[in-house]
């Protein structure tokens, strides 16, 4: 029933949208790899909840709409996080206690992959050897070892990051995460057995495509993947500032130990 006219218009708009060339040709560093340098930030609600979620009241009525949760389309491919039954129950428990238990509330380092979609910018510093990710949140950072992969000596919040190039995509193999970080504010989590493979591909002058494949047989029934665009901060003289949030969490963490006034 769709009129011929409507159909042809659809085809016309599709070509317009794709821009001039099919795949983007990134500028390259001296060593020939794509230049991922820059200050980046996600522009989605993944940090609130990786899955589709409606808008809802936040955990703190005292803050009114400021602390409310915006609606958001999920970033999980297939729209489901394949929790095992007991893990699904743990996630619900986390959600119930999110006001006090979310590591982000405590200003603990966000871990991987959450650091990449926090509502705070991060900078990729791509040297002629390794690559450093500097995150504004809690001045956390992680060095991507681009040399011979190293085994995680011990578990940490930001993990042990071994990187390599696959064509024009930076692939980071993350192990040695301590399983204490959450994946979002809704209580999604993984364990210290998680193995994450991240992929950063530059898809435009001011865009990266970021995907993270999450494998943790102790928590999930199968591997699953999140994916999202990351946007360059193009303000003039954009720079990371300081969000050292330890002080902002002390009342939450230590208030109960303070001397009563």
């Amino acid at each position: 029933m769709k009129s011929l006219f409507g159909l042809s218009f659809l085809a016309l708009s599709v070509t317009l949208l794709c821009g001039q060339t099919a795949t983007y040709k990134p500028p390259r560093m001296a060593d020939g790899h794509p230049n991922l340098n820059g200050i980046w930030e996600a522009m989605n609600t993944a940090n609130w909840n990786l899955l589709d979620h409606p808008a809802s009241a936040g955990p703190m009525w005292e803050l009114g709409a400021i602390a409310a949760v915006p609606a958001g389309q999920g970033v999980v491919e297939g729209k489901v996080i394949p929790y095992k039954p007991e893990a699904a129950a743990k996630q619900k428990e986390n959600f119930k206690n999110r006001r006090t238990d979310d590591p982000e509330a405590k200003c603990y380092m966000p871990g991987i992959p959450r650091a990449n979609y926090m509502p705070y910018p991060f900078q990729i510093v791509q040297t002629n050897r390794d690559i450093l990710f500097v995150y504004e949140y809690a001045t956390s950072n992680r060095l991507i070892n681009m040399g011979k992969p190293q085994e995680a000596p011990s578990d940490t919040w930001m993990g042990t990051n071994n990187g390599r190039w696959e064509g024009d995509t930076l692939v980071i193999d993350v192990t040695g995460l301590n399983g204490l970080a959450w994946l979002d504010r809704a209580g999604d989590f993984a364990s210290d057995k998680v193995h994450i493979v991240e992929r950063f591909t530059r898809t435009g002058a001011d865009h990266l495509t970021y995907t993270a494949t999450i494998e943790d047989p102790s928590v999930f029934t199968k591997t699953w993947t999140i994916s999202m665009p990351l946007y360059r901060k193009v303000e003039k003289d954009a720079q990371l500032l300081e969000f050292k949030c330890t002080e902002f969490a002390e009342e939450l963490l230590y208030g109960k130990y303070k001397k009563a006034k």
Partner: protein, 329 residues
């Protein structure tokens, strides 16, 4: 569902049998039929037909003339600035009568056109139970709540949340402005009250995930000839129409067909087997009014009622009186 459409189609053409061939709307630069304009819900048609009308869908000329006279008198008093000074003042608890726009009478006997008796079909047991069990058995919030403990005792409109998709398109006391705007790949419907706007993609993309539920649902549009067909799903079970609430499977189908330079035929079919025993359809004849200006309806921002009602209830409780809100007869 199929027959619903068939019936509507017959109804629409019957209503305009007199115009020889269907109107062809002008085309927009990018080829879509142009439905743009101000389409206030002026036609003052009741939602449901009085039982004694049976399946008669239209007023007789005599009935219409009587309503026209009534509307004329009403619009004169609507345009008054103050209550009549000749002492005969009917003191009520409502704002002054002249703060309303009563719209114009129409031959159509009721908005509901299917089922043929012009009445909304019966609720399913599940639909009834859902409404009754709301708020732990207290039922939905009401315009006239039986108690005033908290904002939830009021209906969504009193709380300035929303009037829901269906009511926002239909006639009411005032501010029934609707505007249609179009851009390549999108049709936008702006409802004046309560400043809600549905941006409807027409590029055939799928609905958002079922986990995403909203008051106005998730709309997708496509063109069938010169008719815009809009399918809306993903309602959040806290909105509906006629006192009932859409279930999570409700599907609302709207059809916009321009039948003349200043006329837009609008059909809305509700398909929600978990709530109503049958699908039902309403028809609204919009008439363009280029002079109608949609003003901002900032409802929540000025909602003194909520504060007055709640503080008032607290005072009543101190005096040991009930806080039930009775309608002034």
């Amino acid at each position: 569902m199929r027959n619903g459409f068939l019936f509507v189609f017959l109804f629409a053409t019957a209503a305009f049998a007199q115009s020889p061939k269907p109107y062809t709307p002008p085309k927009l630069p990018w080829g879509d039929p142009d439905l743009q304009g101000e389409w206030p819900a002026f036609a003052n048609i009741p939602m449901q037909r009085p039982a004694n009308f049976g399946t008669r869908a239209f007023l007789t000329d005599e009935e219409f003339a009587q309503r026209a006279k009534q509307a004329q008198k009403q619009s004169e008093s609507d345009s008054e600035e103050f209550a009549p000074s000749d002492g005969k003042v009917n003191v009520t608890i409502n704002p002054p009568g002249y703060w309303q726009e009563h719209g114009k009478p129409d031959h159509q006997a009721s908005l509901v056109v299917d089922p043929p008796d012009g009445r909304i079909p019966a609720l399913t047991p599940e639909g009834q139970a859902f409404v009754k069990n709301l708020r732990g058995g207290l039922g939905p919030g009401s315009h006239f709540p039986t108690k005033v403990d908290s904002p939830e005792d009021f209906d969504d409109y009193s709380r300035c949340i929303t009037r829901g998709l269906v009511s926002s398109m239909l006639p009411t006391l005032y501010n029934f402005g609707n505007q249609i705007m179009q851009a390549p790949g999108f049709v936008v419907i702006r409802n004046e009250m309560i400043h809600e706007t549905r941006v409807i993609p027409t590029d055939g993309r799928p609905h958002v995930g079922t986990g995403l539920r909203t008051y106005l649902g998730d709309s997708r549009g496509h063109w069938e000839g010169n008719t815009l067909v809009v399918e809306t799903t993903n309602f959040n079970t806290r909105t509906g129409t006629g006192g009932a609430y859409f279930s999570d499977e409700a599907r609302v189908t709207e059809r916009f067909t321009r039948t003349g330079p200043e006329d837009l035929s609008y059909d809305l079919t509700v398909n929600d087997p978990k709530t109503w025993t049958k699908p039902w359809t309403l028809h609204m004849p919009y008439h363009m009014d280029k002079s109608y200006v949609i003003y901002e309806y900032a409802c929540h921002e000025g909602n003194y009622m909520m504060i007055d009602a709640l503080t008032g209830a607290r005072d009543l409780e101190k005096q040991g009186k009930p806080t039930k809100v009775d309608r002034q007869q």
